[in-house]
């Protein structure tokens, strides 16, 4: 599953994904924002909600991402490890290199741990969407 955040492209493994929900959410769940994660200081456009479970507690959470999303097959050989020099967070799983396009592959369960610990929570702690 690929989502664009600004000029950057992010990838998620479909197997780690529970569902893609609309936004605003109709249930109350802990959530984080891909734009906040990527340091993009604007709201996501056409937002979608990726529902997944955290690695640690298995608790469900949501990552708000800009839409539209697209799904593509990525070969294992196209996924490269993050250079150790960067010491990236655990939720950055790898880099997808394909046909000149580069995407950052995120680990949703590990991201869930970070969202639940508020390490990358949205800048808006009380979003109007949580009704």
């Amino acid at each position: 599953m690929l989502a664009s955040a600004g000029a950057d492209l992010f990838a998620f493994e479909s197997r780690q994904l529970g569902a893609v929900l609309g936004w605003p959410l109709v249930v109350i769940l802990p959530w984080g924002s891909l734009h906040a994660l990527a340091g993009i200081p604007v709201e996501e456009w056409e937002p979608r909600a990726l529902l997944a479970r955290s690695a640690g507690s298995g608790e469900p959470f949501v990552l708000r991402v800009p839409g539209p999303l697209r799904e593509e097959d990525v070969a294992a050989g196209e996924i490269h490890p993050v250079p150790p020099l960067l010491s990236a967070p655990a939720w950055v799983r790898g880099i997808v290199l394909r046909d000149g396009a580069t995407a950052v592959l995120l680990d949703l369960p590990a991201l869930g741990d970070a969202v639940l610990s508020s390490a990358i929570s949205s800048p808006s702690p009380a979003p109007e969407a949580l009704r």
Partner: protein, 159 residues
């Protein structure tokens, strides 16, 4: 050439020439630096890096180079020269063993011999070779292994 050997007097044996290493000389923002050419993999036009969340500001992101993922560094920020990146005209890809990084630079002068003798004092980290006069410019010689160590410690220092 950086440090000319002192002239020999008549009848005196010629003084051994000071050893020097061919280095790529470039400007990051305002300061000039030299990196041993043997450690330089390539010099290329800049390409837009993909940002990796959770990395420090001097890491601009990653690019693909020859099928590998390579971090792109804003050298001026890493070395404390500037708090932001300036004009980027070239990417200098350097390697130390298995570690590889691309450095954003504003201008490349070319390959010049830089003395292996200790240069003038400099407060630039990773500058084991000190400051030298090269082609009329004050150039700080960087050692790639120390540069990579500096990246590692700076990245871990933020964790």
């Amino acid at each position: 050439m950086v440090t000319p050997a002192p002239p020999s007097g008549p009848g005196e044996p010629a003084a051994p020439a000071a050893s020097a290493t061919p280095c790529l000389v470039f400007r990051a923002v305002a300061h000039w630096y030299a990196i041993p050419a043997a450690r330089v993999v390539s010099v290329s036009a800049p390409s837009r890096p993909v940002r990796v969340p959770g990395t420090p500001p001097f890491v601009r992101g990653v690019i693909a180079s020859a099928g590998k993922v390579v971090p792109v560094l804003t050298l001026s920020m890493l070395l404390g020269e500037s708090s932001r990146s300036g004009d980027v005209a070239r990417l200098v890809l350097v390697q130390d063993g298995g570690r590889m990084a691309a450095c954003e630079v504003a201008e490349v002068l070319g390959i010049e011999d830089v003395s292996d003798q200790a240069g003038g004092p400099t407060d630039v980290p990773a500058a084991a070779g000190g400051a030298h006069r090269v082609a009329g410019r004050l150039v700080t010689r960087l050692e790639v292994d120390r540069l990579m160590d500096l990246v590692t410690s700076a990245v871990r220092g933020r964790a």
